[in-house]
């Protein structure tokens, strides 16, 4: 270990701030983290800015403006490791719903004078623009997974964040399957674990906050939902939320649009 503390930077693009807030929500670990790293650039928490390069950059949010599309390259250049956090940074976020529509129409719905608004046609994940060392999923991310990622990068190992489905975690925590037992449509079979399989434990179907799991099969799940009487329109909406632009979910929602 070098004598100096590793430098941590937190960057924000288009987002709700919730994922970087997860770092401040680590109430029990925050001061310990601040002991282990130098918080060198974290606007939400400090007005002090330490110059780069940085050992680890956490990037929240998606790219939606020409300026941000440039800014991310500068951040990549000053970052040894770049980790994206949350559904906006990894999949474009809820604001990627514009990708399925004409953004000009969107601007005119919200703003009376669209000429003042500079925005790109699509909201895109960070990985579409620069090389990303690791992606942490979720809307919002799980703070325990965030601490795991920080710990892993500080110790030069790979983070342990399981890629399997929410179903596996339901079984682990002993939650009775809401889809089989109650006939509640659930995205659990195609959604990446990380939340702790929360929704089924609260008697509701998973709604896909953590995005598609590895090798997911949304088409098959759609078939089951249809048999349960879910309309094509509602299926499209189900796949088109916080991870709408993640490829497996995007393709499936488009299949239901036809």
């Amino acid at each position: 270990m070098a004598l100096r503390k590793p430098k941590l930077a937190v960057w924000k693009f288009s987002s709700c701030d919730g994922c970087q807030l997860s770092l401040l929500d680590c109430e029990d670990e925050l001061l310990a983290v601040a002991d282990a790293v130098e918080i060198a650039n974290f606007a939400e928490a400090s007005r002090a800015v330490v110059k780069g390069p940085y050992d680890l950059s956490l990037v929240e949010g998606s790219i939606t403006t020409p300026h941000d599309a440039e800014r991310i390259h500068g951040i990549r250049r000053v970052s040894k490791f770049l980790v994206t956090i949350g559904a906006c940074a990894t999949a474009g976020g809820i604001q990627a719903l514009r990708n399925f529509k004409d953004v000009k129409e969107f601007i005119s719905i919200v703003y009376a004078r669209p000429e003042y608004i500079e925005t790109l046609k699509k909201s895109t994940p960070i990985t579409d623009h620069v090389f990303v060392d690791f992606e942490l999923y979720g809307c919002p991310i799980n703070k325990h997974q965030l601490v795991e990622v920080l710990s892993a990068f500080l110790n030069g190992r790979k983070p342990n964040t399981p890629p399997h489905s929410v179903c596996v975690e339901c079984k682990q925590r002993g939650t009775v399957c809401v889809m089989v037992a109650q006939g509640t449509p659930c995205l659990g079979p195609v959604t990446r674990v990380g939340c702790g399989a929360l929704c089924p434990a609260y008697a509701r179907g998973c709604y896909g906050c953590f995005g598609p799991k590895e090798t997911s099969n949304p088409a098959s799940l759609s078939g089951w939902w249809s048999e349960m009487g879910v309309s094509n329109r509602d299926l499209m909406r189900a796949f088109r939320s916080f991870n709408a632009y993640a490829e497996p979910f995007r393709k499936q929602s488009e299949a239901h649009e036809k």
Partner: protein, 429 residues
Amino acid sequence: MKNSVIKVDYLARVEGEGALLVKIKGQQVADVKLRIFEPPRFFEAFLRGRKFNEAPDITARICGICPVAYQMSACHAIEDACGVKITGPIRELRRLIYCGEWIESHALHIYLLHAPDFLGYEDAVRMAKDHPEHVKRGLRLKKAGNEIVRLVGGREIHPINVRVGGFYRWPSKEEFSILAEELKWARDAALETVRWVARFSFPAIERDYEFVALQHRDEYPLNEGRLVSNKGLDIEVREYDQHFVEEQVAHSHALHSRLKERNAYFVGPQARYNLNFDKLSPVAQEAARSAGLSPVCRNPFQSILVRSVEMVYACDEGLRIIEQLELPVEPAVTVEPLVSTGYACTEAPRGILYHRYRLDDRGVILDAKIVPPTSQNLKTIEGDLEQFIQAHIGIQKEQLQWQCEQAVRNYDPCISCATHFLELQIEQQ
């Protein structure tokens, strides 16, 4: 001071992206602009075509700091459209989760974002080196608020247990009793916060504000009430659009709100406190008095003190709810769509949050309007800065800049909310 520019390119310790630009010509403030460059996210646009029961989960994503506020305004507006009024334990549990969000958000702002300004630290981590006991208390308070949100809502950020009509399931009685113990500690810690913050020195500034908040006959406002002000406004929430207007300005991605009749207004803890002091619990009223606060507080730098008093109230109210709560069988009432328009205003930690939805017969949202608290305060913040800088034009630029930032943070601005919308520059010519 000769002609100069104070420029803060990226305002720190606020939620979201904004900048401040102040131009000074000779001894006069020439221009103050709070620039919001947080990119727009078009929530109102993509809510069109979504189902009415999706609104709470979608709008929660406008803000990671106050998702409960969005869920509450969305649920109440949809229920208003569908002719449903929630009473009894569901109404009480909604107050409880909102108290949790107030505690979490107020503790975050008081301890991690605002107190460092008063004590001269760049951030709370640096402040913790000299004042560890205060920062640790703040973090535990924040955690107590988050525990309420987690217990009732399933998780702290973007809770999953809130739905149109109520909740998906009740938390268990045992879980509530563990929470009650921590809340008793939190109420004492909030009282200690009031005593600590009362010792800060507050720059003097007072303007003739119009404070706007909800007011309810029986309680300190959270989810329900009439919209009132100290200058005669007294309307139903559904009359909001007749009295308030949102305008687009070139320097900002956030729309600026104003009262049609009188212009700028002030929302948030101070507005609520000034208009509803008599509804605070006796413990919270006593805490305010002993800290030297009168029932009307006009100095925005004292917002940190008012926020601390509200934190006492939220702990107290949370305890009252937990002690009296009887949970029936059904955690939600059925809500059927109606061809109608629904309106709601609830008190987010930063002030009134207005939602309006128009629905068709299948419950599809035809149009949506959302006005977050921060965009309602922007004009008032710019006005404060102008007066503050004019009064302190001779002081050293670096100090002036820091105090300008502090003045912005008086309002705990949440820029992510306002673009659904901040940057600081002071320019001297």
